[in-house]
């Protein structure tokens, strides 16, 4: 066990955990932030996507030991009131079906828009092609990202 200090959604946290423990389970089991989802455990489905120092990362494949001193943002920290431009676009387009993969997709979309204010379809393909959705919301995801971009989504 080791004491790891990090910032989660702007709050300093000290976590006593086995450093191998994936960030995902620290967020969910210890910090009670269940918006980040487990989908594959091997970093291929994107359901667990969070921002680490501003970059979209797979929390299921990120050992907590590597997060010391880092700043983590989860879906709960994106906004407390659905005011983030990506979330607003999500409501406008009504993207989710079952919703399970959506936190991860929203976090990937938000990271993309931070990098590229007006992403092309090809940019979206590159940034989102490792975020799996079994319900088939992809076309609405694409549409909502364009909507968010048009409304200045690079918050």
């Amino acid at each position: 066990m080791a004491l790891i200090t990090l910032t989660v959604n702007g709050t300093n946290q000290s976590v006593d955990a086995n450093p191998e423990t994936p960030l995902l389970w620290v967020l969910r089991d210890i910090l009670g932030l269940t918006g980040t989802k487990y989908g594959c455990g091997i970093g291929v489905c994107g359901s667990c996507t969070v921002h680490i120092d501003g970059e979209a990362q797979r929390s299921c494949a990120t050992p907590i030991g590597s997060c010391d001193g880092k700043s983590v943002t989860t879906i709960e920290g994106l906004s407390s009131d659905l005011s983030h431009p990506v979330q607003k676009a999500w409501l406008e387009v009504d993207v989710p079906q079952c919703g399970y993969c959506q936190s991860g997709i929203i976090m990937s979309a938000a990271a993309l828009l931070k990098q590229k204010q007006k992403p092309t379809d090809a940019d979206i393909d590159t940034a989102l092609s490792a975020n799996l959705c079994r319900c088939g919301t992809y076309n609405r995801v694409r549409k909502a990202i364009h909507v968010a971009a048009a409304k200045g989504g690079a918050q």
């Binding site: 086995n18 979330q87 079952c98 989102l128």
Partner: protein, 707 residues
């Protein structure tokens, strides 16, 4: 459709208590899945509640599970329409599982709208009329001078108004009207309009609670190690290392394996890795996909149970005709919803509480009552949001496991299935094998069609005693009942059940059968050099609704326009779960790699009740079907499933999603389903498009790389 009146039956009950407003309970008859019908008592037991509180908030209790298909949105839409409610005042509650209070709570078979429409409409109309009467009495005016609009009753001459909240308590004291008039669909304000799903905000903020997110006091996280081999049995185990893993609190045995309980998910996973188990792998330990294929081919030579026999196929084949033969194969595929199976269970001395995303919570109620020996009233099942169903969660094996683990350990547990657990222990869509022959005459018409289906039966695997004379007609959905008029038809079935667990996968048997039938019909069309659309239409004079969706899909796709070189269009259609669907796929093939660019979908489900969720359901059906058609294949090796995660079992990604155009054909005929019907035509439309583009026929799924 014109305005209809309804007779009051004994399905409504009004209740009111001081300050509570109005509570209406009414009964929806059991909405059973067509394929897995379980008869339920038809005695009066209200199963939907509508509550109007004094502040005007209208609460609708929904008894069907919500898995993204929108039951929490379209049920209230139907009700609010007739109620003339203000949509912004609608709130939704999920009903817990109950033996009979809600009719059937099974959420499958695309039954949601079509089995509930009438009663929800009547209930809304009933309450609306009672609110009008209450207002008229209060104002002492003729009720004919009053009308309902957006949550208020208005007196036409004076324009004075009262809100539903203000009227609810008085309305509750009035007699239930005999025959409330239903609205003319022309005047619909909510039904048929684009309304966002009720759960969208929760699902876009991380606040949506799935079973995997539930936490109860004293709960431990559990993982279960099961036999990887189908039918394998535990011989012995050593838990020493597992028990000494940091965070592990308990190791318990249940019938299906060994459970590790820990204070965190990670510890439970690490503890499970440390388990040492000796299995008796049993008779299936060497089973492979090749064995299953051999079994199907061998069974194909047996006599089949006849499902459809029209005319005389043998005589027709003996005539002056051109005969075409083909063999098709479809593999096992997995459900793999994004939320792996999970369940929280708390078994106490004389009661039990469960949180689960189940498509069939009543079945879990029954099995839990049997398992624990508790009366059903002592078992509470909270139905959470579901992170993807597709038929997988009609089975409650994971819920029963959680109950057994909680009972054995004496603590509340959250059982988490890993992705590997989920893929290894699915109830897969059955693999199938099809032998076909067809004859076309000199006029380019099908004169004979023979189809032998060799496939497992879900019922045959689970309840063989229910199978008579080797027949399960469900397996032949869309094979025994083709949409076309063909003079000589023989469809028969040979039941072959390998020891691989199978279950309902979105559209169930229709997904394989339509792939096969619509591909083979296309082969026959090609043999006659006829246009595949015209070839189908000439056999559909007796099926105008199918004709219409085919014509619509073709027209909207620009069927007769020329495509650039290397692209092809394919068409296919089906009728299942009460709806007609026709689809045109546009594909290109580059160096063997298939890219689906566009899917044009025409659907006749009677009437588009909720266009937003309808379009989402089509997107979802296309995506799931494309995943399966392009790359989905579960293979068996040494008695176990080879694929364990999305690296080995890839599914459709955003860059592979085609443009989808949905065209609803409102026939105003009997309502049909929408979750499943758009799925079956996808694979054959794509395969037929591949043929149009390359001349290559795909007779085995998945399509993969055409090389």
């Amino acid at each position: 459709m014109t305005t209809t009146t309804v007779n009051r039956r004994d399905f409504m009950k009004i209740a009111s208590s001081a300050g509570a407003g109005l509570v209406l309970s009414f009964y929806l008859p059991s909405a059973e899945s067509e394929l897995f019908a379980e008869p339920l008592a038809e005695s009066f037991s209200p199963n939907v509640w509508l509550k109007i509180d004094p502040s005007g908030i209208v609460t609708v209790t929904v008894a069907k599970s919500e898995m993204g298909q929108g039951s929490r949105t379209y049920f209230p839409m139907i009700l609010a329409e007739e109620l003339e409610a203000d949509w912004s005042t609608i709130r939704v509650e999920q009903a817990p599982a109950h033996a009979d209070k809600y009719g059937s709570q099974s959420t499958g078979g695309s039954t949601g709208v079509r089995t509930s429409w009438e009663k929800l409409s009547k209930a809304g109309a009933t309450v609306r009329e009672m609110l009008i009467s209450a207002a008229a009495q209060k104002w002492n005016v003729d009720r004919a001078t009053c009308y309902a609009e957006k949550g208020t009753i208005i007196h036409r001459p004076t324009k004075k108004s009262l809100t539903y909240g203000e009227l609810a308590e008085d309305a509750a004291k009035l007699p239930v009207p005999e025959a409330p008039a239903l609205k003319d669909p022309k005047n619909y304000k909510i039904v048929g309009t684009w309304i966002p799903q009720v759960e969208t905000a929760a699902r876009s903020s991380g606040r949506a609670i799935f079973a995997v997110d539930v936490k109860v006091p004293g709960m431990l996280n559990a993982t279960l190690l099961r036999s990887a081999v189908f039918g394998g049995k535990l011989v012995s185990f050593d838990a020493t290392k597992a028990e000494s893993t940091p965070g592990v609190k308990k190791v318990v045995q249940i019938d299906r394996g060994i459970a590790v309980l820990a204070d965190s998910t990670w510890a439970a996973l690490k503890g499970r890795e440390a388990l040492e188990i000796k299995w008796d792998e049993g008779p299936n330990s060497k089973l492979s996909s090749a064995d299953i294929q051999r079994m199907f081919e061998e069974y194909a030579r047996k006599d089949g149970a006849v499902a459809t026999k029209e005319g005389d196929v043998d005589a027709a084949f003996a005539g002056n005709v051109r005969k075409i033969e083909a063999v098709y194969n479809a593999p096992y595929v997995s459900h793999s919803p994004m939320e792996p199976m999970s369940c929280v269970a708390d078994v106490r001395a004389d009661s039990c509480e469960i949180w689960i995303g189940s498509q069939n919570p009543q079945a879990l109620l029954n099995s839990t009552a049997t398992l624990l020996g508790f009366p059903k009233e002592k078992i509470t099942i909270h139905v959470t949001l579901i992170g993807g169903g597709f038929g997988r969660r009609l089975d409650n094996d994971f819920g029963e496991e959680a109950v057994k683990i909680s009972k054995a350990a004496g603590v509340p547990v959250k059982l988490l299935w890993t992705r590997e657990d989920d893929m290894h222990h699915d109830f897969y869509r059955p693999a199938s094998h099809h032998v076909l022959s067809g004859a076309v005459d000199k006029d380019g018409k099908i004169v004979a069609f023979k189809h032998r289906v060799v496939a497992p039966s879900i019922t045959g695997q689970r309840a063989p005693e229910r199978i008579k004379d080797g027949m399960d007609r469900g397996v032949l959905d869309c094979a025994a009942n083709m949409p076309y008029t063909i003079p000589n038809v023989l469809v028969d079935y040979v039941m072959a059940i390998p020891p691989v667990p199978i279950g309902a996968w979105r559209s169930v048997y229709a997904s394989q059968n339509v792939y096969v039938v619509e591909s083979f019909v296309d082969e026959l069309a090609a043999a006659t050099h006829k246009d595949p659309l015209e070839f189908r239409l000439q056999m559909l004079d007796k099926n105008p609704r199918m004709k219409k969706v085919l014509e619509t899909a073709a027209e909207k796709s620009g069927w007769t326009t020329k495509l650039p070189k290397g692209r092809g269009r394919g068409i296919a259609c089906s009728f299942c779960f009460g709806s007609f669907a026709a689809e045109v796929a546009e594909v290109s093939v580059v160096k063997g790699k298939v890219k689906v660019h566009r899917m044009v979908v025409a659907i006749d489900c009677g009437m588009g009740v909720a266009p937003n969720t309808l379009e989402s359901q089509v997107d979802g059906a296309v995506a799931l079907a494309l995943s399966a058609a392009l790359k989905g294949e579960i293979t068996i090796e040494n008695g176990r499933t080879k694929q364990g995660n999305f690296d080995a079992y890839p599914i459709l990604t955003i860059n592979e999603m085609p443009k989808i155009e949905v065209h609803v054909v409102n026939s105003y005929e009997k309502l049909g389903g929408i979750g499943e019907p758009p799925l079956p035509p996808v694979a054959p439309a794509v395969c037929n498009a591949i043929f149009a583009a390359t001349g290559k026929r795909v007779r085995k799924l998945p399509i993969g790389n055409l090389g």
